[in-house]
Structures are given as structure tokens and as C-alpha cells.
């Protein structure tokens, strides 16, 4: 009780500290990075979307470990959610629960649209806002609709894990090909001076792999939660 009241003035102090610090923000802001990306971003990487250029070409290492943390989280969540005992009655109370008819009919219309939209966002990551992570989340939402409709759906979780790890190995290998062709690590494997359309092959390939990985990962996390609940 007492610590709740004592923390309020402390939070106000932090707020004022931030407010004071942000007043001299305008004096200090350095512009060099932004101008560099504006002039050279498209030329060097072949992608109009500069944010995709950053996380898929200039700072690819961050993306590799971000995909890695998703992999670890999926494995970990499924490991912790495992019950040690055999399920006694996996369909307990599920037969008493009826999915509304309206939901099922609407899902029939929405499911292909969302799936198509997700694939569009993944493919066009380098031309419009989007990319692997964003499109992967949309695809995961589409796949989850299937689980809301049919509560007794059976899935092979081990297959999803195997595919995910193979995709991660593929991601690492594609990033490392650039060492053989250009002598630099973790960048586009097509040389720097070639046609801009050719360079986007690398971006599309990486976006596809990342999109598939994110979609499978998020679906696997959701399935682990469902299995734990049964």
C-alpha cells in the first residue's frame, strides 16, 4: 500500500527529467544518417522501401538474431507447455461448445482474402510498406482462423518445428553466400554495380523465408497454448 503512494512522486520526477532532456533535442539532432539513406539507399540495395533496405541489407545481423529469438521462443514455449501426464479427456467440454454459424460463414469469405493479402505484403516488402515480419503476422492471423472454426483440429507440431529449423538454416546460408561472391559478410550476394531489378531477387528470397518462418512460429505458439489448455 505504502509503496504505491511513494512511487507516484518518483514517477513524476522521471517524467520531468525526460521533459527537460527533450527540450534540447532540436539542438543536437544529427542528420547524416538520414541524408545518406535518402541519396544512396535505393542505389546500393535495389529496394525502394528504405526500411527494408536497412533491416535486410545494411543491418542483416540483427534480423538473423531476431529470427533466432523467435525460434528459441517457439521451442521453449512448446517445451514448457508440455504436460507430463497423458491427457485423460482431450475433448472435455468441447462438444458442448457450439461455434456460431455466422462466424463460420464469414470466415469462409475472409480466409482466402487475408491469405492473399498476407502473401502480397510479403512479396512486395521492398516496394511498399511491408516485408517479411509484417506479412508473416498477417499470414499467421489467417491460419489461426482455421483453429477458431474447428476446435478439435489435429496438428503435427513436430513437423512445424522441423520446417522452421530448416528454414532458419536456409536463412543463415543465403546470408553467408555473399562471402563467396563478394568477399563481404551478410549482404546481398549479387555484386554492387549490377542491375537494380536483379538485386531485388535477394530481398524477395529473404522476405519469403522470414514470412514463412514468422507465420509458422506464431501458429506454433498458439497451438502450444491450445494443447496446454486441453
Amino acid at each position: 500500500m505504502i509503496r504505491k503512494w511513494m512511487s507516484l512522486p518518483l514517477l513524476l520526477i522521471v517524467f520531468f527529467a525526460f521533459a527537460i532532456a527533450l527540450t534540447d533535442y532540436e539542438n543536437l539532432y544529427v542528420d547524416t544518417a538520414r541524408i545518406f539513406y535518402q541519396t544512396y539507399g535505393y542505389l546500393y540495395t535495389g529496394s525502394l522501401n528504405l526500411v527494408t533496405a536497412i533491416y535486410l541489407d545494411f543491418r542483416l545481423l540483427d534480423t538473423l538474431f531476431e529470427a533466432g529469438i523467435l525460434l528459441v521462443a517457439v521451442t521453449g514455449v512448446s517445451y514448457i507447455a508440455q504436460h507430463d501426464q497423458v491427457e485423460h479427456n482431450p475433448l472435455f467440454m468441447l462438444d458442448k461448445f457450439k461455434i456460431p454459424e455466422l462466424f463460420v460463414s464469414l470466415a469462409r469469405i475472409i480466409y482466402p482474402i487475408v491469405l492473399l493479402f498476407g502473401i502480397y505484403v510479403v512479396f512486395n516488402g521492398h516496394l511498399a510498406p511491408g516485408g517479411g515480419f509484417q506479412g508473416g503476422s498477417i499470414l499467421a492471423t489467417a491460419l489461426l482462423i482455421l483453429y477458431y472454426i474447428d476446435l478439435k483440429k489435429k496438428t503435427n507440431l513436430q513437423l512445424i518445428f522441423t520446417i522452421e529449423k530448416v528454414l532458419y538454416l536456409l536463412l543463415i546460408s543465403i546470408s553467408m553466400i555473399s562471402f563467396l561472391t563478394r568477399g563481404e559478410w551478410f549482404t546481398n550476394f549479387i555484386p554492387l554495380e549490377s542491375n537494380l531489378l536483379l538485386k531485388s531477387v535477394f530481398l524477395i528470397a529473404l522476405n519469403l523465408i522470414i514470412g514463412a518462418k514468422v507465420a509458422l512460429g506464431l501458429t506454433a505458439i498458439f497451438i502450444s497454448f491450445l494443447k496446454e489448455g486441453r
Binding site: 512511487s7 527529467a17 543536437l28 539532432y29 543491418r59 563481404e184 559478410w185
Partner: protein
């Protein structure tokens, strides 16, 4: 040669994925060739680096230094990388037989090794944040591996607190980005002194220090450490106490010492934080009854000593603090591994119930004795070297020497309790399981390392840092007498006071911190840092 850091970073991940994908259990033997490759390539890299230090800079992607991620290896880094590879080899050796059939354990361990090496080698602030978060996640999974009741609670609290610390660190990093325009540590080091007096940089510094402070478990933010280290499986406890806590200390050296050039007279604050945390750690360690909790609270105290040493930026105390990091990894790892063997054999964790380990497990008991001698600072072992180097800067100030002796006394008392376990008659009724050769061998290697560092520390430091450290005269008989005096004083205090277990001591033992209180202390710490920076 210049490209070897990429091997250090990605080989364990690839091996981890291969171990998971192939079904049979015999593929687990693959970890040993992997460690061998890492050790051999590390030795080659160090030899090449000694000839030509400029090969330590590796820019990814061939872009300009201000917009690409870079790796930077120098004298500070390479020692930690070597320590990591050595320690992980020991842990793989130790945990191999008992976890032979568990794929996910090796997967998490190998991934942790890779990400930890990445944290030590990187030169980019946001990359550090990503690695910190992955380490927090992996450590939580390793703590809760056996899914015991206490392990799940400790893992949940650790995950939430570590995420909060990483986020505070992230806010600090992004404020720094707005000041400098890039995220390169080596470049920031050169241009930092001109902007040190602005409020924005002060706030960023306060946030980064709070984030690092929680990860390193100083007072008052140490609440998660005894809970997490006490309930993890033994090999994981050794790894946590020996290595993961040191990542935060490495960050302190890198960011506070090198990048910010030890600003705002903050060294005094860090010194006193370390002192209080060392004292609090031994007080709590003295009253515990559970073997692993004693060791875990003791880690808090030793980290306090390291903070004291690192608060100076050069000189013998700094070298003492840095050497203490290596030494603590070695002997705390040894103690945790030996404790794991003893607990598994006796099936209990309470110190008073275990007796007569010398008769039942003689080799383990002698290794544990070596560990205890190291940690209490016996001459000839490595604990004595680092502790006397730490005390070097204060040999003229009476009050601080008095506090140091108090901390040492507390250490001796708490380890007298552990040492009582080794003597006496065993009163077992159950059949014990002997430790196998695969567990004795790594512990013996660690014990020998402890002796080697204790005797040969001078050529070692000269080779790494090109500085000649303070000389310790081993022939001087006074140091042996001094040690025997402190040990007998501590043992008598233990026997006549602590063993009776008076009421106040039981009250201190029951003092645990709830999770909301830990968050409140984090906020108090942040506010006091910010207030000190703005007003001083």
C-alpha cells in the same frame, strides 16, 4: 584470420540446429568436436592478434563504418571470449552424461554459447540489446528446465525483471542515437567528451547504468539472483553465476569505462554501491541453510567486490577487479559443480544434514576444499591474488580496510558452514551414486586452473595487458599467518554464534523480496541515479 569471429558466432548455432534435426541421440557427441574447433581457432586467432592488433576490426557488408554493424576485438574482449569457450567446454563435459537423451537441453546450451560470444564481440549498441534479450530468454528456459515448482516462479520473475532492464537500456541507447547519428561504440568514444554536459546524454547514461545494474545484481537490485541460481540444475547454476553475470560487468567496463570515459564523478557512486552490495551479500549468505542459496548470495557479494575494483579506471585495483572476474568464474564454477555432485549423492540440499563427504566422495571433497580455499583467499590460490590487488589502492585508509576485512570475515564464516559438511561421520541410509569420470575430469581441470592462476598470475597479466602488476611475495611467512588468524577467528565466530541459530538470524533468513517490491526498488534506483546526475 580476420574472419574467424563469424565462426565463433555461428558454429554453435549450426551445430545446435543439426542436433535438433537429427533424431538419434548419438549425434550429441557432436558438441565435443565443436568445442575443440572453437578452442583451436581461438588460439590461432590470439596468436595472429598479438602480431597485428588491427585484425580485430570486422565490418559486415562492406559499408561505411557509421551505418554498418561492426565487430571489435581487443585485449578486453579476447580474455572474456577465451573464458567463455573454456567454461562452456567444462559445462558440456559435466552435463553430458546426465542429460544424454535430452535434445532441447543441448540446443539451448549451444545457442546460449553462440549468443554470448556475439555479445562479447559486438561493437554496435542495438546489436547488444538484441543479444541481451536473447540471453534473457535462454537463461529463463534453462532455469525452468526441470519444471519444478520453485523453478517456474523464479524463472518468471527473472524474465520480467531482465526484460525491464533491457528496455531501460534500449531507451538510453536510442537517446544516444539522436545525439550522435550512429550506433558505433568505437566512434562514439571519440566524440563523447564534447556532449557530456547536455541533459539528454546524462539521462541516457542514467538509464544505461540502471539497466546494467539490474543485470549485474548489485544492491538493491539483486532480488532475482538467489531465487534463480538456487533452483536451477547444477550445471546451469554454475554457468549463470560464473558467466552470465559477468556479461553485465563486461558491459560496465565497455560503456562506463571506455565509451563514456567514466563521467560525472560516478566512480565514487559505483564504489559505494559495490561496498554495500558486498556487505549485504555476506550478511545474507551467513544465515542461509541451503547449500545453493549460500553460494548464490555469495555471488552477490563477490560482484560487489568487482564493482569496487572496476570503479577505478586503471591501476592495480582495476587489474584486481578484472582478475577477480576471471577468478570468480573459475572457483564459483568449481563450487557449484562439486555441490551438484554432493546434492545428487545425498538427495538433500540442507547443509546441516550432509556430513562426512570426505569419507564417501573423497575426490569431490578435496576438490571442494580447493574451491573453499580459493574463495576465502588462501595464499597460493587465485583468490588471494585478486583480493590483495584490490586492496592495494586503499592500504592507507583505515575505514575501508576495516570494511574489507569485515567482508572477508563474512566470507570465511559462511564457508566454514560449508566446510563442516566435509568432515564428520556419514549417517546415510540410502545408497549413494558416485560421480562418474565425466564429472570428475572437468572439475579437476577447473581446480588446476585455479592453482595455476594463483601461482603464475604475473606473466599472465604481463602477456595480456603489457603492465607489470603489484608483486606478491609468496615467501613472506606473514601472509600465511594472517590467513590462519582470520580463519580461526571466523571459525570460532561461526561455532559459537551462528550454530546456535538465534532468533534474529532466522528473521533475516526469511526476508524475501516480492516481485512488486523489486520493481519499486528499480524505480527508486533509476530516480536516484537521475537525480544525482542532474543536480551534481
Amino acid at each position: 584470420m580476420i574472419h574467424l569471429p563469424v565462426l565463433f558466432l555461428f558454429l554453435p548455432i549450426v551445430i545446435a540446429l543439426i542436433i535438433y534435426l537429427i533424431q538419434s541421440s548419438h549425434i550429441h557427441w557432436l558438441v565435443f568436436p565443436m568445442q575443440l574447433i572453437l578452442i583451436v581457432s581461438f588460439i590461432f586467432y590470439v596468436i595472429a592478434w598479438k602480431n597485428d592488433p588491427s585484425i580485430g576490426v570486422l565490418v559486415f557488408g562492406g559499408w561505411d563504418e557509421t551505418i554498418a554493424i561492426t565487430f571489435l576485438l581487443d585485449a578486453l574482449n579476447l580474455t572474456f571470449v577465451g573464458l567463455t569457450i573454456f567454461f562452456f567446454s567444462i559445462i558440456f563435459f559435466y552435463a553430458f552424461k546426465s542429460n544424454y537423451h535430452e535434445k532441447k537441453f543441448f540446443f539451448f546450451l549451444a545457442f546460449l554459447e553462440s549468443v554470448f560470444l556475439g555479445l562479447l564481440m559486438t561493437n554496435d549498441l542495438f546489436n547488444l540489446f538484441v543479444f541481451l534479450e536473447v540471453i534473457a530468454l535462454l537463461v529463463t528456459l534453462l532455469i525452468t528446465y526441470r519444471k519444478g515448482e520453485n523453478a517456474l516462479k523464479a524463472g518468471l520473475q527473472y524474465l520480467l525483471l531482465a526484460s525491464m532492464a533491457s528496455i531501460l537500456y534500449l531507451i538510453g541507447v536510442l537517446l544516444l542515437y539522436y545525439v550522435f547519428g550512429h550506433l558505433n561504440i568505437a566512434l562514439m568514444k571519440d566524440t563523447m567528451p564534447s556532449v557530456l554536459n547536455t541533459n539528454l546524454v546524462k539521462l541516457a547514461y542514467g538509464l544505461i547504468i540502471t539497466g546494467i545494474g539490474l543485470k549485474a545484481a548489485v544492491f538493491p537490485l539483486y532480488a532475482w539472483l538467489p531465487k534463480a541460481h538456487g533452483v536451477a540444475p547444477s550445471s546451469v547454476s554454475a554457468l549463470l553465476s560464473g558467466l552470465v553475470v559477468k556479461a553485465a560487468l563486461y558491459l560496465l567496463m565497455r560503456l562506463h569505462g571506455e565509451m563514456f570515459h567514466a563521467p560525472y564523478e560516478f566512480s565514487t557512486v559505483i564504489f559505494w554501491l559495490g561496498m554495500i552490495s558486498a556487505l549485504a551479500g555476506v550478511i545474507f549468505a551467513m544465515v542461509q541453510k541451503d547449500l545453493k542459496q549460500i553460494l548464490a548470495y555469495h555471488t552477490v557479494s563477490q560482484v560487489g567486490l568487482m564493482f569496487i575494483g572496476l570503479s577505478f579506471n586503471q591501476g592495480n585495483s582495476f587489474l584486481g577487479g578484472w582478475l577477480h572476474i576471471l577468478n570468480h568464474a573459475v572457483f564459483k564454477g568449481l563450487l557449484f559443480l562439486a555441490a551438484g555432485v554432493i546434492i545428487k549423492a545425498y538427495q538433500t540440499k540442507k547443509v546441516y544434514d550432509i556430513q562426512g563427504v570426505f569419507k564417501t566422495l573423497p575426490w569431490t571433497a578435496s576438490l571442494m576444499l580447493i574451491g573453499i580455499l580459493s574463495i576465502t583467499g588462501a595464499p597460493l590460490f587465485n583468490g588471494y591474488v585478486s583480493k590483495s590487488m584490490l586492496k592495494y589502492a586503499f592500504k592507507d585508509e583505515m575505514f575501508i580496510m576495516f570494511l574489507f576485512n569485515l567482508i572477508n570475515l563474512g566470507t570465511i564464516i559462511s564457508f566454514s558452514k560449508v566446510a563442516m559438511m566435509l568432515f564428520g561421520k556419514p549417517h546415510l541410509k540410502v545408497l549413494i551414486k558416485r560421480a562418474s569420470i565425466s564429472q570428475h575430469l572437468p572439475m579437476t581441470i577447473v581446480a588446476i586452473t585455479s592453482l595455476v592462476i594463483g601461482l603464475f598470475y604475473q606473466p599472465l597479466i604481463t602477456w595480456i595487458y603489457d603492465i607489470v602488476p603489484y608483486a606478491i611475495h609468496l615467501e613472506d611467512a606473514r601472509i600465511y599467518l594472517e590467513y590462519i588468524f582470520w580463519v580461526s577467528l571466523g571459525f570460532n565466530l561461526y561455532y559459537f554464534i551462528l550454530k546456535r541459530d538465534y532468533r534474529p538470524l532466522a528473521k533475516i533468513r526469511e526476508l524475501t523480496m516480492t516481485f512488486p517490491t523489486a520493481n519499486f526498488l528499480l524505480l527508486v534506483f533509476l530516480v536516484s541515479m537521475v537525480a544525482f546526475l542532474y543536480l551534481a
